[in-house]
């Protein structure tokens, strides 16, 4: 009886594929899938969220400004009324659907910012108001935010973010590690589109109200100058990217402005503190 142990081949239980090659292929595939699926989920969530009627959104939020700790500006009642009347005049020009009435708020904050949130609430901070050079510039900012409300962008962002988060959770624990990066990239890409749409609608609105669209670019220039002095990025600019093409588009819109017959209006409520 023969007992022996002949030598066995090395490669039966171990594959000799290139480890790095396979890893890179998988990484590229994973990034592609997450990017595509992420964008699709965000888009789908936004589309579904827009079916929620605006009346429901308004009654659900009531007077509360969600996602922001609102400090009403001291002695700001007259400015708040001015902002509200400006919003109402712009809303009339923009022909908002019935029942959609933006509410304007004047918030005490030394960071220049303006944004729209759920329920038709628009917030303008004291710091932004103080650096606006004219009513035309302010009107552009307010109209831009009203345009977001008209497009239901706040609730779309909420729905899109929720669906995207749900999708990433389902994909597993490893995808959750990627979640913040994916969310950042998707939101950045998507919001540029929404911003361009809001810009176009706002230009149209101020044109109808004032007969021209000058002053819009001045709003961005004022914010950029403020950044230069203060040395930090104004929140408005970081969430509303002021790319070259955007400013160029706004300047083009003012091409037909006749400076003498259509003067820029000063702010109705002065900012003397």
């Amino acid at each position: 009886m023969i007992y022996e142990n002949p030598p066995l081949p090395e490669d039966v239980n171990v594959s000799r594929d290139s480890v790095l090659g396979e890893f890179l292929r998988l990484l590229v595939a994973l990034i592609a899938i997450v990017a595509i699926a992420g964008t699709m989920l965000y888009f789908l969530g936004g589309w579904l969220a827009r079916f929620v009627p605006f009346s429901a959104e308004m009654s659900w939020t009531g007077d509360a400004v969600l996602g922001f700790d609102l400090q009403e500006a001291r002695d700001g009642e007259s400015t708040q009324r001015y902002l509200q009347s400006l919003a109402d005049r712009l809303a009339a020009e923009m022909e908002l659907p019935d029942g959609m009435r933006p509410s304007a708020h004047y918030a005490e904050l030394d960071v220049p910012n303006a944004f729209a949130t759920l329920g038709g609430h628009i917030v303008v901070t004291t710091a932004l108001y103080r650096i606006m050079p004219s009513e035309n510039a302010l009107a552009f900012v307010v109209a831009h935010e009203i345009a977001h409300i008209e497009a239901r962008d706040p609730i779309a962002a909420l729905g899109g973010g929720a669906l995207l988060g749900l999708g990433l959770t389902l994909l597993g624990r490893d995808a959750e590690a990627l979640a913040p990066q994916v969310a950042y990239l998707v939101l950045n890409g998507y919001s540029r589109r929404a911003e361009r749409r809001a810009d176009a609608a706002a230009l149209e609105a101020v044109r109808r109200l004032y007969g021209h669209a000058a002053g819009a670019a001045a709003a961005f220039e004022a914010l950029g100058a403020h950044e230069g002095r203060a040395g930090r990025i104004p929140t408005f600019l970081s969430t509303h990217p002021a790319t070259q093409e955007r400013i160029a588009a706004l300047s083009d819109a003012a091409a037909d402005w006749d400076r003498t017959s259509q003067p820029l209006l000063p702010l109705a409520v002065s900012t003397r503190d």
């Binding site: 009886m1 007992y3 022996e4 594959s15 480890v19 890893f23 998988l26 624990r173």
Partner: protein, 152 residues
């Protein structure tokens, strides 16, 4: 900014895992081959029936065990592969090494006893670090090979 920082950190860890992991693996395989060549004349079988003409003064239970852990690169590669499914080649070499190491240690133990054959060899594999909270911890496994060594 945070995005870039975390990407750079991840890339550095992956590269370290890949380079050091591959170097360690190569060294281990060379070591395994050398010792296997030395111990090739110590025969192992998983049969229970001993040869009819066996001459044996003692029969001793011998055990060899080894614990092998993965590196960061293998961890990432296996995570991604398990999303898509299929054979996880990153772990194959890890498990192969662990088992061969365990067998060698069992043989070395038998060699110190002066045995020439080991019968009824059996294996056990236990996966350690079974923490279920948060993201998956680094995988490590213990391999045991045991059998009865026949000392002539």
């Amino acid at each position: 900014m945070d995005l870039i920082v975390s990407l750079v950190v991840a890339a550095v860890l992956l590269l370290a895992g890949l380079l050091f992991g591959r170097a360690a693996e190569k060294r281990h395989y060379a070591d395994l081959k050398r010792r296997e060549a030395e111990l090739r004349n110590l025969l192992i079988f998983n049969e229970r029936r001993l040869p009819a003409d066996v001459v044996c003064s003692r029969a001793v239970l011998v055990v060899g065990s080894a614990v092998i852990a993965e590196d960061y690169f293998k961890h990432a590669a296996a995570s991604m592969k398990s999303l898509f499914g299929g054979r996880i080649t990153a772990y194959e070499s890890l498990l192969d090494r662990g088992r061969r190491e365990a067998i060698l240690r069992m043989k070395e133990r038998a060699r110190t006893l002066g045995a020439t054959m080991i019968f009824n060899v059996r294996f056990e594999t236990a996966s350690l670090s079974e923490d279920r909270s948060g993201s998956r911890p680094m995988f490590s496994a213990e391999f045991i090979a045991y059998g009865t060594a026949l000392v002539p």
